[in-house]
């Protein structure tokens, strides 16, 4: 079962931030990592990652630099900034809160009377 479009879009920011929290990376590697982490359940249209990355860069959460790949091709690398670490912490708390709330609501017995 693959995730709904809205959920994929909503979780993109924390997911990208947490992948970058492990160190500098680039678009293709981020996509691959997402595929690995979700066991193939999260299907991103590859190109859609880049507008997300650019928006995060504009918001000051990550920074980009042009570098070279192993075979000398031009490649853009992204890394997390101080502000991004703070944002990741914030988003993590929010997602945990949603998760906990849902968890509790599902544990309650349905009231039928």
């Amino acid at each position: 079962m693959s995730l709904s479009k809205d959920l994929v879009a909503a979780s993109a920011t924390p997911l990208v931030l947490s992948i970058l929290a492990r160190g500098e990376s680039y678009g293709y590697a981020i996509i691959k990592r997402v595929r690995e982490l979700s066991g193939g359940q999260m299907q991103w249209t590859d190109g859609m990652l880049y507008p997300v990355l650019h928006r995060l860069e504009r918001q000051g959460f990550i920074e980009a630099r042009w570098g070279a790949s192993e075979n000398g091709r031009k490649r853009k690398y992204y890394s997390l900034r101080e502000k991004g670490i703070e944002e990741l912490r914030l988003q993590r708390n929010q997602w945990m809160q949603v998760h906990e709330t849902l968890q509790k609501s599902w544990e309650e017995k349905p009231c039928l009377t």
Partner: protein, 240 residues
């Protein structure tokens, strides 16, 4: 025979011709495309198969352009502003060229004894010819599908040097047209041996037609153009 570099270049060109992607965005997507092709080829796909799968995974060019548009809104406005400004410049050019040719024609006609009652024909004929010329030119440019007029102007205006050169070229032609107009007016006054009442009649006729064009016809055309380009419609088109 499939040429990977050529296929990637064609894909990039398609991406570049959208109004929302910067050059850096396109080279980043291109790098992604190459990484995917390399990985897929390593897992046994032919270069051609790998390219098509990679392009498909990267997403539809139109949808990508729309997504980039959300983060690069100034690019769209720069593009629109460019078209508005160039439209105004074309209008200025046509206006001053038309008036220049008209005055030159009137001076020649007056010298050669052209009936004054028919002088109004000059602005009408020159304006019609110029507008028809522009319509033909635009049609011709739009018919060249592989090298659309839009992509052509985008390519020029992507670099500042291109913008400056284009502005200088248009200004020079404009200045030339205005010069032609001034010279011919001067000639008309100096050379034409007509009585003051007849001269006034000629002058009023050309002035009224010139006024009708620049105050009524041209603004109506510009308003139609702006309506056609209005953001809400563009948004609807992009979604549909």
């Amino acid at each position: 025979m499939f040429d990977l570099n050529q296929a990637i270049a064609a894909w990039s060109e398609q991406m570049r011709s959208t109004e929302t992607c910067r050059a850096g965005d396109v080279s980043e997507l291109e790098s992604h495309l190459r990484d995917t092709v390399a990985d897929l080829s390593a897992s046994g796909l032919s270069e051609e198969e790998a390219f098509w799968v990679a392009a498909r995974r990267l997403g539809d060019v139109g949808e990508l352009a729309q997504e980039f548009g959300k983060i690069n809104p100034t690019l769209i406005w720069r593009h629109r502003l460019f078209w508005m400004a160039s439209g105004y410049l074309v209008f200025l050019l046509v206006n001053s060229l038309g008036a220049g040719i008209t005055s030159l024609g009137i001076s020649t006609a007056a010298v050669s004894g052209f009936p004054i009652a028919w002088v109004w024909l000059f602005p009408v004929v020159t304006t019609t010819l110029l507008v028809a010329g522009i319509v033909v030119l635009v049609r011709w440019l739009l018919q060249r599908e592989t090298f659309g007029v839009d992509a052509y102007f985008l390519r020029i205006t992507r670099r500042w040097v291109g913008c400056v050169l284009l502005a200088v070229a248009v200004s020079l032609v404009s200045a030339g047209a205005v010069g032609l107009q001034i010279c011919s007016r001067y000639l008309m006054v100096r050379m034409v041996n007509v009585e003051p009442a007849a001269f006034r009649q000629v002058y009023y006729q050309t002035a009224i037609f010139g006024w009708a064009w620049s105050v009524v016809v041209a603004p109506v055309l510009l308003v139609l153009l702006v309506l056609w380009l209005r953001p809400s419609k563009r948004g609807a088109l992009a979604q549909g």
